[in-house]
């Protein structure tokens, strides 16, 4: 099982009856697996804040609930979490948060343990799939015992790493009866001040619990070196330093002070090995322990070798075969509808404020189609702010995906309307949450189990929020898209353009591939500048289309001024391009 599959299993075994989240690599598969179990109702929420509220409501209603997100998602949900820490829980409430050291698929690197400290909620850090299952079960117990939401923090290598797991069976948990308790659940200042005293007492109780809990354990080996570690770093320490004694912390917030002091007293030297922030290092030092300075990176992932070399092992020799290998950046798929839209945006020389999704890849050459990308929903506010700056002569356009628009674009659009903006917002509606692997969302009208859901009416919603016009274009039709883009960026009202065509990977029955007529190709390179992986040049500079990769979207046909791109196969319709 992967760590994510194991968390889902653990939540099910713990008797959770509600699972809710927003997809985000590397956390996505937790909910996708939880939905397969009987007895758990699962939903994708439009964003992490809503997900945390839904899970909180389920907890208030007396059942165990799991809410899932990636690290940046917890920023969105933090508003909820920090106060849920005061209210506490009725049914067990567990946050599954997956961090991404090294930023394999994220816009920043952050250490969720900091949110645990800030919100004063416990953080559990599994080191492999087995622990991902066990700690998730434990998290529900801790949540109810200490009246607190609990964070289970994974990292990419735990989420997506696979290992052997011994699974258990489900424990059915009785719903705790709902009893109105406004002093606990209505966090106005007078009540919150009272609850804060309880939180302080809880911190102490949790620290004492951590010193005896099974999730924190001292492994006694050589007494010359004792290493304090947690999460995936534990595995690297075991491989790199097999002789060292290890204090393996599963519960790192709050810190089990007594356990650490005892461990440190039994070894000659104490070192801390942890990924990302020096969370443990600084707090262990604050206990008065002389922690050895180890030369470990403070950003990115660790590895067995990095740990070994930090403790003095000689570097391994490594082979480098060829200098200057071309990189292989992720790219828009063949037939991706976003490609057509970015091509048109390039033609109007738009300044494009971007967002989080597949379309972020439109930033890369040759499309060079994006000027900013910060976080979910930021494109719309950023476009408005750029207009306020008044320094840009070219049209400023916000692009945002369908799922992202529902996540946090709606309020941005509402603000643009309120602020009398005449800007342009493009919703790239490819009928799915594509980058994380095709999840349902309120725009595409698909539930987490694949069944039909009510889809929101984008046009009606945007008009209701105050857009002056909403027009839908087919981004595969380059001329039509370009015309609408020209008109709406020039218009003196707030415009929403819905660029609507399904993700190329959703289409099972593709058009026939195209080919290049060598006689007609002038080597002008127009088609190559679409950045389609199916199009390359031969040694003479002529365009070549790989028929195995081409899905027949026809964008290149429209770009070629010499009619040199032609259909192959009998059913190919050249007339309309598509």
């Amino acid at each position: 099982m992967s760590g994510n599959e194991a968390v889902a299993r653990g939540a099910w075994e713990a008797g959770a009856s509600v699972g809710v989240g927003y997809p985000g690599t590397p956390s996505t598969e937790v909910l996708e697996n939880l939905v397969k179990y009987e007895g758990v109702h699962c939903e994708w929420a439009p964003n992490e804040k809503v997900a945390a509220e839904v899970a909180g409501g389920a907890s208030l209603g007396g059942v165990r609930a799991l809410v899932t997100m990636k690290h940046v998602g917890l920023n969105v949900a933090a508003d909820v979490l920090y106060t849920q820490s005061y209210t506490g829980v009725t049914g067990g409430l567990v946050y599954l948060v997956a961090d991404d050291p090294g930023m394999h698929s994220s816009q920043n690197e952050q250490d969720t343990r900091n949110h645990g400290v800030g919100a004063r909620v416990p953080v559990l850090e599994p080191s492999d799939s087995q622990e991902a299952l066990e700690y998730t079960r434990a998290a529900f117990e801790i949540s109810e015992r200490f009246d607190v939401p609990v964070i289970v923090r994974l990292t990419t290598r735990i989420s997506h790493g696979k290992g052997l797991v011994t699974a258990g069976s489900r424990t059915e948990v009785a719903t705790r009866p709902y009893e109105r308790d406004a002093r606990k659940y209505v966090m106005m200042p007078g009540n919150a001040r009272v609850r804060l005293r309880d939180v302080a007492a809880r911190d102490e109780a949790l620290a004492a619990y951590g010193s005896t809990a099974e999730v924190n354990r001292a492994e006694e080996r050589s007494q010359s070196l004792g290493v304090i570690t947690s999460g995936i770093a534990y595995q690297y320490v075991r491989e790199a330093l097999p002789e060292a004694s290890v204090l393996k912390l599963g519960l790192t917030v709050p810190l089990p002070a007594q356990l650490i002091l005892d461990f440190a007293s039994r070894v000659e030297r104490v070192a801390v090995v942890e990924e990302l922030d020096r969370h443990l290092t600084m707090r262990v030092r604050a206990l008065g322990i002389d922690v050895e300075e180890v030369d470990l990176p403070r950003r990115g992932e660790l590895s067995p070798r990095i740990v070994a070399e930090a403790f003095g092992a000689p570097p391994l020799s490594r082979r480098e075969l060829v200098d200057g290998l071309p990189p292989r950046p992720p790219l828009l798929c063949p037939g991706c509808p976003h490609r057509g839209l970015f091509y048109a945006l390039g033609k109007v020389r738009a300044v494009v404020t971007g967002d989080i999704g597949c379309y972020t890849l439109g930033t890369l050459p040759p499309l060079n189609g994006m000027d900013s990308c910060v976080c979910m929903g930021a494109s719309i506010g950023m476009a408005h702010g750029m207009d306020l700056a008044g320094s840009v002569e070219r049209p400023v356009v916000a692009v945002i995906g369908d799922s992202t628009f529902a996540h946090s674009g709606l309020t941005g659009l509402l603000h643009m309307a309120y602020a009398r903006s005449e800007g342009t917002v493009i919703v790239l509606d490819n009928r799915t949450t594509a980058m994380t692997g095709h999840q349902g969302n309120p725009v595409n009208g698909v539930f987490i189990d694949g069944s039909d859901a009510p889809a929101i009416d984008l046009d009606a919603v945007c008009l209701a929020l105050g857009a002056g016009s909403v027009r839908t274009v087919d981004p595969h039709d380059l001329d039509a898209t370009l015309n609408v883009l020209r008109e709406e960026t020039a218009a003196d009202h707030l415009s929403v353009i819905v660029s609507k065509a399904p993700c190329a990977l959703l289409i099972k029955d593709h058009h026939d591939p195209y080919a290049v007529d060598e006689e007609l190709c002038t080597k002008c390179g127009s088609c190559v500048r679409l950045g389609c992986p199916a199009i390359s040049r031969d040694e003479n500079g002529r365009a070549v289309i790989d028929t195995a990769t081409c899905v027949g979207c026809g964008q290149c046909v429209q770009v070629c001024r010499y009619d040199a791109i032609v259909g192959v196969g009998p059913s190919c319709d050249l007339g309309g391009g598509r």
């Binding site: 790493g161 696979k162 290992g163 082979r319 292989r328 992720p330 798929c333 950045g531």
Partner: protein
């Protein structure tokens, strides 16, 4: 028993992740502790994909460092060159004899790397035409299983275990073709096309 580390390297869409899954399940079926690590996300297709499979009595780290892999199975020559750094001296290198040009090459920003095959031969690479063998097996998409067949020659697992796991793991309609693909890959080694 010593721990063995295998790195699979290819391009998104080539089936490296399924191949890694098959290998991991074969090792589990033969009673070993196994860890598998892969990185995915970002684009669905076309990026570099690395899968690490480690097996033995007890496996700690799922992550592999340069110079630590016993076997490198490359689904494409550029990725073979890129990931060669993982292979320890004396490790086995199985390479699918094809290139998939990356976007900087396709759009003419960078030249296609030259002399890859010769350079890889110099590193002791064993070459296969996995796509051709896959077509011969009756399923062009089973090139990944052809490569696992070739790799199986260097790995300490029984053929029936491979056959059972492949049958369980691939789509039911393609079981026969994938089993043929596995044996064509394995036979290619036996016949000296690649000699491990």
């Amino acid at each position: 028993m010593m721990m063995t580390t295998v790195v699979l390297a290819g391009v998104g869409g080539q089936g490296t992740i399924l191949a890694g899954d098959v290998l991991a399940k074969v090792a589990v079926a033969e009673g070993m502790d196994v860890k598998l690590s892969e990185v995915h996300g970002m684009a669905q297709r076309g990026g570099s994909v690395e899968t690490f499979v480690r097996f033995g009595q007890t496996v700690f780290s799922p992550v592999v460092d340069p110079g630590m892999a016993d076997h490198l199975i490359a689904f494409e020559m550029t990725e073979a060159a890129r990931t060669l750094t993982y292979l320890r001296p004396g490790g086995t290198l199985v390479v699918n004899r094809r290139t998939v040009d990356s976007l900087p090459v396709l759009i003419g920003d960078m030249p296609a790397p030259e002399g890859l095959e010769e350079a890889l031969v110099g590193e002791g690479a064993i070459f296969l035409d996995a796509e051709a063998l896959a077509c011969e097996a009756g399923s062009p998409r089973s090139a990944n299983i052809v490569l696992m067949g070739a790799a199986s020659y260097a790995l300490p697992f029984e053929v029936p275990t491979w056959e059972r796991v492949i049958s369980d793991r691939v789509p039911p309609k393609t079981v026969e073709a994938n089993l043929r693909a596995f044996h064509l890959g394995r036979d290619a080694c036996a016949e000296g096309v690649c000699s491990l």
